[in-house]
Symmetry: C2
Subunit: 213 residues, 2 copies
């Protein structure tokens, strides 16, 4: 995943803007949708809330998006690109997988803390159209799996079912983010990263225990 490369596709299909003004307006509406869905939630948020926030009329909305559901789809795709790009950038200089996990987790917690809307929009999308949600995590998971496979090949991590590991790791990050980056920041990210790092380096069991082949 190259950094600095425009990962986000230009909008296409019906409703794609054809002038500079159109592009600006579409972007404003999308931005407004992010904060409106993010703070009010998808169902409480009306299209009129979005257009008011964007400073356009109701009808303008439908010049660019087929409806409320489609703008959510677009939004999730957009936000997904952003997180992945950000995490990839943070992780690229790690010397091994364990270090990459540490950097990645910290970056994710920080990202979530700075962009709290991501979580809500994403999780709520799950119940509007499950395929949007699966697409996000499967895309995320594919990249993650590739990195774990590399690490296995290099002998940096134990061999094992990396696909299962990916889902376990994504779940961990997700819950830690919800609890410590969104709900309460009563535990420093350093402590969280240290705790998880210890789990990755030594497991949960006492040292030297259960080392049968």
């Amino acid at each position: 995943m190259p950094i600095g490369h425009a990962d986000a596709a230009a909008p296409s299909g019906p409703g794609a803007p054809k002038t500079a003004r159109g592009a600006r307006t579409r972007a404003r509406i999308l931005k407004a949708a992010e904060s409106t869905f993010g703070s009010l939630g998808y169902h409480r948020a009306g299209v009129s809330d979005i257009t008011r926030d964007a400073g356009v009329a109701q009808g303008t909305f439908y010049n660019y998006f087929a409806g409320k559901e489609e703008i959510l789809r677009e939004l999730v795709r957009d936000m997904g690109h952003q997180v992945r790009a950000r995490l990839a950038a943070e992780v690229v200089h790690a010397r091994d997988r364990l270090e990459a996990e540490e950097k990645g987790l910290r970056a994710f917690l920080e990202y979530l803390h700075d962009n709290p809307y991501l979580y809500r929009v994403l999780q709520e999308a799950q119940f509007v159209d499950e395929s949007i949600y699966r697409e996000y995590y499967e895309a995320f998971g594919r990249g993650y799996l590739r990195m774990l496979a590399d690490a296995t090949r290099k002998g940096e991590i134990r061999s094992g079912n990396n696909e299962v590991r990916v889902w376990a790791l994504m779940g961990m990050a997700n819950f830690l983010g919800l609890r410590y980056a969104l709900w309460d920041d009563d535990v420093p990210f350093d402590d969280i990263v240290a705790t998880i790092s210890d789990l990755f380096r030594h497991g949960l069991a006492m040292d030297g225990q259960e080392r049968n082949p």
Copy 2:
């Protein structure tokens, strides 16, 4: 958490049934709400869908519940009691914490596979009233934390920040359940449990590596 003990509180407050018939009707409505919310989702499901499923008239619903939101609250509380009771029963005979984690994870995956509605109702409740959701996981987490603290005291697991661990472990189980118990059961639960057990016993890093005091 004693098994076989009625953990679920009897309904109280306004709308509490006062005859046997009333209690039956209330229970039928709650049951219907579970399957209706579970399959259609909270927002798509109408109160009329619930009452039709329960075989009662619209108005009957409001004899027992203040509204759509309150029955969701009740439902989450109810389902939370059930899962916790079930997991506690499965875990109670484990010989140490590591074995308890294995049994607990497998039991959770099986429970979710048999009760797919739990996930949807719970996750969706998050956006209707966040406190319902937090209450569920904080209750779950308190019990979990107590068990990890015991295990630390007994020297069964490494010392570390158990609270952070609890959230990491809950997140893992959650995502593994979503992916492998609800979406696709293409990986046997045995493999999942084995993978996670290996993580707990040895970590992710290669054996013998990173063992500095």
